[in-house]
């Protein structure tokens, strides 16, 4: 290449590069600033041109969904999106975990609690045009039953049970086009609430299942008020209103819903305050002032969770209730909760959230008594305790496990007990709680289905990853089994009252707090629902322009 050619090509390159930059800069100037542009785009298309409502609402959450097939996911981020695409046979009431009709307009349960007959709504279609009927329900459930289910279906065994182990669904029968009969192996009252869950329970299109080889993670197709448009990995999922939706009372009021993924809490808050998002969740109390200071609003409702410290009831140190109670007396839980979480958590007096049906306010937990703790622990010879905890913030403990452990460490130091703390990231920690020889550990739980069994069974579970207190009490397990088989009502509530009393007396846990669900939102957005189960219902939501 000659010198002149080289110079020419270099000049051409510089000119071309300059042209790209100039075009880009011109385009930036022409389109104005980001936040304004976003809102103008969202108001240009279709439905709301003549109304005062915007046609797009943007919800910013912490990460991508794991997938969008209810059989293959277990995470809240997936559930929020799926709840707007799919529907369940039964639904939760908007503000509680009471069951109301969904795709099934009514149901009957046989006297022995084994047979559930569900009568389906007519005229319902999946987003791909397939008719919703009893066959679709059968296929949707049967793919998750033993024999068909695979290891990657994390909620299949929880929702539909394991028949070979004596629980769960035995058969699903399509009696006629609008009648489904589900037979259980053993009576299970939580099953009704399981049918309303965002995981596993939603009914999917049988045509789509066939088309996409049984996995709808990237091609969701339900009957819900919103249809799936696109999923750009690590960026967003876009939904649009289902124009053929069957239930006019619950039809989508806003044309487009965008779920945006912003992992950093601070960045999500900035996105809200900058007008790039209309609703954000996954925040903690440290950003409340920033949100409200910018003229946005705070959503603040009781959550369905419990934050606790577990004693290893199999350890030499805490194998007796006396030792556990003596330890518990050293901790001023009310003071601890107020200092760590402010107004955004309530001190726990029950394993169940305070709003859940069988909650009994008469049950008393061990009261703070520093002097008694000091003398009792000394008498028991407890001078050092090994603790393991997690580092990450969790939905029930936004400060993270280490901060909580250090607070407890401080209380115990005052009564002459040395607590050594080993901290692990959450992924590692989940294995450590099953393998380490600890005296105490920190854990928590976010409820799945709103049934008391879902909380109280944590102390009866055979899995060490669930029952981190390693509490093994035959009487308690008998109560849990009774509660599962007893129909809803006073008799069942009494069973769980007894469970609560036993847990308070035997003290396998030191109850800490119930965290509130926090979200920030643009005050122009109305009527969205953040359900206690953590899912978000956006079909009733509107946004003023």
């Amino acid at each position: 290449m000659s010198m002149s050619e080289a110079s020419l090509s270099r000049r051409k390159f510089v000119e071309a590069f300059g042209a790209v930059c100039a075009t880009g800069a011109a385009a930036v100037l022409a389109t104005g600033c980001g936040s304004q542009r976003a809102s103008s785009t969202s108001t240009t298309s279709s439905s709301s041109s003549s109304s005062s409502l915007a046609d797009t609402i943007t919800f910013a959450q912490g990460s991508d969904p794991r997938g969008l097939d209810p059989a293959y996911v277990d995470d809240g981020e997936s559930a929020k999106i799926m709840s707007n695409i799919y529907e369940t046979l039964l639904k939760y009431d908007k503000s509680s975990c009471d069951i109301v009709p969904g795709l099934a307009k009514s149901y009957e349960v046989s006297d022995d609690g084994l047979t559930y007959t569900l009568h389906l709504n007519e005229g319902v279609k999946f987003h791909d045009g397939t008719d919703f009927n009893a066959d679709a329900v059968k296929k949707s459930i049967e793919r998750q039953l033993e024999g068909s289910r695979n290891d990657d279906m994390p909620y299949a065994s929880f929702v539909f049970g394991t028949a070979s182990e004596g629980n769960g669904v035995s058969t699903v029968e399509a009696k006629d086009a609008t009648t489904v009969v589900i037979t259980l192996v053993a009576a299970s009252t939580p099953f009704l609430k399981n049918l309303a869950m965002a995981m596993a329970a939603p009914i999917v299109s049988p045509t789509a299942l066939e088309k996409y080889d049984g996995n709808l993670n990237e091609n969701p197709c339900g009957t819900g008020p919103y249809t799936f448009v696109s999923w750009t990995k690590s960026q967003n999922v876009v939904l649009k209103a289902n124009d053929s939706y069957w239930d006019s009372e619950n039809a989508a009021k806003t044309q487009n819903i965008i779920f945006k993924f912003i992992s950093e809490n601070a960045s999500r808050v900035t996105a809200l305050n900058n007008g790039e998002a209309d609703i954000i969740d996954g925040i903690d109390d440290s950003v409340v002032d920033t949100i409200t200071g910018a003229g946005n609003s705070l959503y603040d409702e009781d959550g369905m969770n419990i934050n606790y410290m577990a004693f290893n009831t199999q350890s030499d140190t805490f194998k007796t209730p006396e030792a556990r109670i003596a330890f518990a007396k050293a901790v001023n839980v009310d003071e601890l909760v107020t200092s760590l979480y402010g107004d955004y958590a309530t001190a726990a007096t029950s394993i169940m959230p305070l709003w859940m049906a069988p909650y009994d306010s008469d049950i008393e937990q061990t009261a703070f008594d520093k002097d008694a703790a000091k003398s009792e622990l000394a008498a028991l010879g407890i001078t050092s305790v090994k603790c393991i905890t997690y580092s990450n913030p969790r939905p029930y403990n936004t400060k993270g496990g280490q901060v909580l452990a250090e607070s407890i460490q401080g209380y115990l130091k005052d009564v002459g007990v040395d607590v050594t703390i080993d901290t692990y990231d959450w992924t590692t920690y989940k294995t450590k709680v099953t393998t380490e020889a600890y005296d105490i550990c920190f854990y928590g739980w976010v409820g799945d289905n709103g049934d008391p069994d879902n909380f109280m069974n944590l102390l009866a579970d055979s899995s060490l990853a669930m029952n981190v207190a390693r509490f093994d009490d035959a009487d308690y397990k008998a109560l849990i089994a009774k509660g599962v088989a007893t129909p809803e009502g006073d008799a069942r509530n009494d069973v769980y009252h007894d469970c609560e009393k036993m847990a308070a007396e035997k003290q396998p846990w030191l109850l800490i707090s119930h965290a509130k669900n926090l979200a920030g939102y643009n005050p122009k957005v109305k009527d969205f629902v953040i359900h206690p189960t953590g899912v978000v219902w956006l079909w009733g939501a509107t946004k003023e322009q």
Binding site: A25, A27, A30, G34, A38, R66, D151, I262
Partner: protein, 338 residues
């Protein structure tokens, strides 16, 4: 020259083999068991064991490595434990975002860095040189998560003139194409989308470029100072050439050799995924994704991404070395003689 290139390619293969062994061992030996994360809260010991068996995690470590290596050599990096999607597909859906950000950042860093370095060298010891030195010091000292958040607070939080994160307004997202949104929108003539893309890339590219900009500035300055003292520069001046021409044509062109190497290495580093920048700006690239997968012990993805980054580094180093050998015959000869 051919012998040199072949030798460097063979060395590169050895490096990649080493990378594959190290990343495999780190993930398998030091990472948490992925089974509880993948199977969720309700997993039982039996279901976790079955899952480990079906994913080959119960096999001897050597067998696991050979399976991984065999797959990698045929372009099959496995499937994400978490999403059940092919690792190559997961990577390719995010890699264009990383490439675009890295290219814009390196162009920004090179343009500003070279100009500042040259000006600083030509005006050595003056106030301009001092300002350039302070700028370079700040560039290498400021943690990116700090400078990034500062930019977001200023431009998005206070002045509301730029978006705080993301790549483009979802309703303007280009469909299909190369995945490089600037190119895609430019070629499709969608200038509204192009403007939106540019708005989104300004802050992350600026934050990401600061470190490279500072390094390039200092390297250009020191290289320029060396060449400005060379005999041929003095000769050019003695011939009566204007100072500007001497600087641009005689000094700068020769000073650019080491700067080219630095730019190449910086580009390699940026293409490897700017984890902090991508996280702070919610930029949907490979860096942020890798961090997420490390936390979830998603072995196949992490192994695939690290191997890909290794390949990128090796290729860029190889290309830079070859360019260097082409531009400076002494290197080629010395290697061949060696």
């Amino acid at each position: 020259m051919a012998k040199y290139i072949i030798k460097r390619i063979l060395q590169s293969i050895l490096v990649l083999f080493g990378v594959s062994v190290i990343v495999f061992l780190i993930m398998r030996v030091f990472s948490a068991d992925p089974a509880p994360v993948v199977l969720g809260e309700h997993a039982t010991e039996e279901s976790m064991k079955a899952w480990r068996d079906s994913n080959g995690l119960s096999d001897p470590i050597l067998v696991q490595y050979l399976n991984f290596l065999g797959g990698a050599l045929t372009g099959n990096l496995g499937t994400s434990y978490y999403t059940h999607t092919a690792v190559t597909q997961e990577i390719m859906s995010r890699f264009p975002a990383t490439i675009e950000l890295a290219l814009v950042a390196i162009i920004l860093a090179s343009l500003v860095g070279i100009v500042l370095g040259v000006v600083s060298a030509v005006h050595k010891g003056t106030a301009i040189d001092g300002v350039s030195t302070v700028f370079a010091l700040l560039g290498v000292s400021m943690p990116i998560y700090w400078s990034g958040i500062l930019l977001i607070i200023l431009f998005a939080g206070i002045w509301h003139v730029l978006p705080s994160g993301g790549r483009v307004d979802p309703l303007l997202q280009p469909v299909g194409g190369s995945g490089l949104y600037i190119i895609d929108t430019l070629f499709s003539g969608d200038f509204e989308a192009l403007g939106n893309v540019m708005q989104h890339i300004i802050l992350p590219a600026l934050a990401l470029s600061l470190y490279s900009m500072a390094i390039i500035t200092r390297m250009t300055r020191s290289s320029m100072l060396d060449t400005l003292n060379e005999d041929y520069v003095r000769t050019a001046r003695a011939k009566g050439l204007k100072e500007g021409k001497v600087t641009r044509h005689h000094a700068l062109r020769n000073a650019m050799l080491p700067v080219t190497t630095v730019i190449g290495l910086q580009l390699g580093s940026l293409l490897g995924g700017a984890m902090l920048t991508e996280t702070v700006f919610a930029w949907p690239g490979i860096g942020k994704y890798t961090v997420d997968c490390i936390l979830k012990s998603d072995f196949p993805v992490v192994q695939g991404v690290v191997l890909l980054i290794g390949v990128i580094f090796v290729i860029i180093n190889l290309v830079v070395d070859i360019i260097y050998a082409y531009l400076d015959p002494r290197i080629k000869y010395s290697k061949e003689e060696g």
